[in-house]
């Protein structure tokens, strides 16, 4: 069991309403130390609202939350001393250079000799690959450069918790790749809590995932657990030949619950859902081949990806509402 001391973020029925809009409803979330926590959800799910509440930029209308054990309403400054934050649409003083922005940010955390602060800034610029553009005014920066500067200013104080709001949303594939690489480099030093709606990114770097929809938490689990738990066992087969008889044979079995059939170019693809994984693994392939009328080109266990799980969960939530 996780000790509460290992928890960086804990929310208890955290809620936020803007006039008549309930942006967040009874959020109960726990984020463990040194995890890369993917906070998933479509636009308007309540991700940015949650982040703003954690940082004291907005006030909750219900519930409570602690970051490093500090209350988000009463001890917000103490929290922000240990946090680095990248906003969804980061804005800086446009007249400043990247170096100036990082020096300005660093001085909120550190005093001490200017050369030491400059050394820290230089290290951070190198980390995000902006050292060659350090003295250019920000107003000429591209979206990717701004995002990398955003990560740099969030990281300049070596925070215990890095909160990134859609860090790769506005980037091209190369920019996304760079940002994810920086996140992976940082994972051994800090806890990363980041929101996104890009599922492939989550699957690549996160170890824990929470899925939000319409202001509600739909699911929270380690990513492997989520990928393995949310589906009945499924098997895929690529077949050639007369498949109808084989389909009838399988349909009559009590442990087969569904067969989805899809023609694909020169063969037919089946997706067979079963209730008993062991029986299926022992008998499914031989049962299909037993009549001799079909040739099995491929056979394997299907694993849902995060996108399918996400869609299942969010659609399920919407259906529940209707």
């Amino acid at each position: 069991m996780d000790s509460p001391h290992n928890m960086v973020i804990e929310t208890h029925n955290l809620s936020k309403a803007y006039k008549e809009v309930q942006a967040l409803m009874d959020l109960n979330l726990t984020v463990k130390q040194h995890s890369i926590f993917g906070f998933l959800g479509p636009n308007g799910a309540g991700k940015t609202t949650t982040i703003k509440l954690l940082l004291g930029l907005a006030r909750p209308t219900g519930g409570s939350a602690q970051v490093f054990g500090h209350d988000i309403q009463r001890e917000s400054v103490s929290i922000r001393k240990r946090v680095g934050y990248l906003a969804q649409d980061p804005r800086y003083y446009e007249h400043m250079t990247a170096r100036g922005t990082l020096c300005f940010t660093a001085r909120f955390f550190y005093s001490g000799p200017a050369p030491e602060i400059e050394k820290r800034v230089e290290e951070t610029l190198k980390l995000v690959g902006l050292d060659d553009k350090a003295d250019r005014p920000i107003k000429g920066f591209s979206g990717g450069e701004r995002q990398r500067l955003g990560i740099a200013q969030a990281q300049v104080n070596y925070p215990d918790l890095l909160i990134l709001d859609e860090p790769a949303a506005s980037l091209d594939p190369q920019g996304r790749h760079d940002v994810l690489e920086v996140m992976e480099r940082l994972r051994k030093h800090t806890t990363i809590f980041y929101s996104t709606h890009i599922l492939a990114d989550v699957q690549r770097v996160s170890d824990t995932v929470a899925i939000m929809d319409h202001g509600k938490l739909i699911s929270q689990a380690p990513i492997e657990e989520l990928l393995n738990s949310k589906s009945a066992p499924m098997y895929t087969l690529a077949l050639k030949g007369e498949t109808e008889k084989a389909r009838l044979r399988l349909s009559s079995l009590p442990w087969v619950t569904a067969i989805q059939i899809k023609p694909v170019n020169s063969h037919i693809s089946w997706q067979v859902t079963v209730t008993d994984e062991a029986v299926a693994e022992a008998q499914l392939l031989s049962l299909v081949q037993s009549g001799g009328e079909v040739t099995v080109l491929e056979f394997g266990r299907k694993k849902l990806d995060l996108e399918e799980i996400f869609l299942t969960l969010t659609e399920g939530d919407q259906n529940g509402k209707r």
Binding site: V77, P90, R107
Partner: protein, 283 residues
Amino acid sequence: MENANALRMVNERGWRMGFANLFHEANGSWWHTRTWLIQTIIWLCMLNGMFAIFLWKPPAEAVSEKIASTDSLTPIEALQQDQTSSALSVFWAYSSMALPIVAIIFAQDAIIGERQSGTAAWVLSKPVSRLAFILSKLVAGAIGLVVTGVVIQGAVAYTQLSLSIGSPWSLLGFLGAMALVSLTIMFYLTLTFMLGSLFQSRGPVLGISLAMAVGGPVLVPMIPFLNKITPWAFFLPITEDMPSGLALALGQPVSSITPVVSTALLCLIFIAVTILRFQREEF
């Protein structure tokens, strides 16, 4: 033993969290750019240039036919008979009218601009108290405006004045007048900050503060009470009494300090409202 060359965590506490850094930045926007130089040159040309013209213009042929019967002159009319006093009244009147406009233009963007651009949310995501955010901008703005608009011009004007009469002018009274112009600037600065915290767009902030700066003095003759609680009559001859700022500059006694105390109190109230409102702001 702690390495003196190592980075240390800042040790500010409470409301001061982030103040030093924010103040350094806000101050730098005045003094590490050409802002101070431009402001200084503008005010030197406008205020001190005009003062020089009034001080050293050739004397009028016949100042007034009323001169024969000075008993019937109001204090203001009597003042206008003397070229030095007249030049001083023009200098202070223009200072007290023009500098507030600059203060308003400067301050209208301080809160709204940062809120709209998103930089306020960025800064406040760092270990910064909201009080420090407001005060750093207010103090840096006040210093910038007062130094470039009052102190430098006042020092130059004092020198012009002393040269004109051939001996040093009463320094204490002159400093008092400078303090009252500074208080006038603070009144508009704090008023505009407060409006910036109450409204979401620049229109009402600029509209209300400019209307007060331009229309306020017009209201005083109609509502004399306003003279007691605002800086509108510090330098402008809008009542029959000698304006208190001008009296100070001329080394004369001040009839009442109530407007000074009231204006200072209003400044404090404006600051308090700004802070209370900004503490509740959501980003």
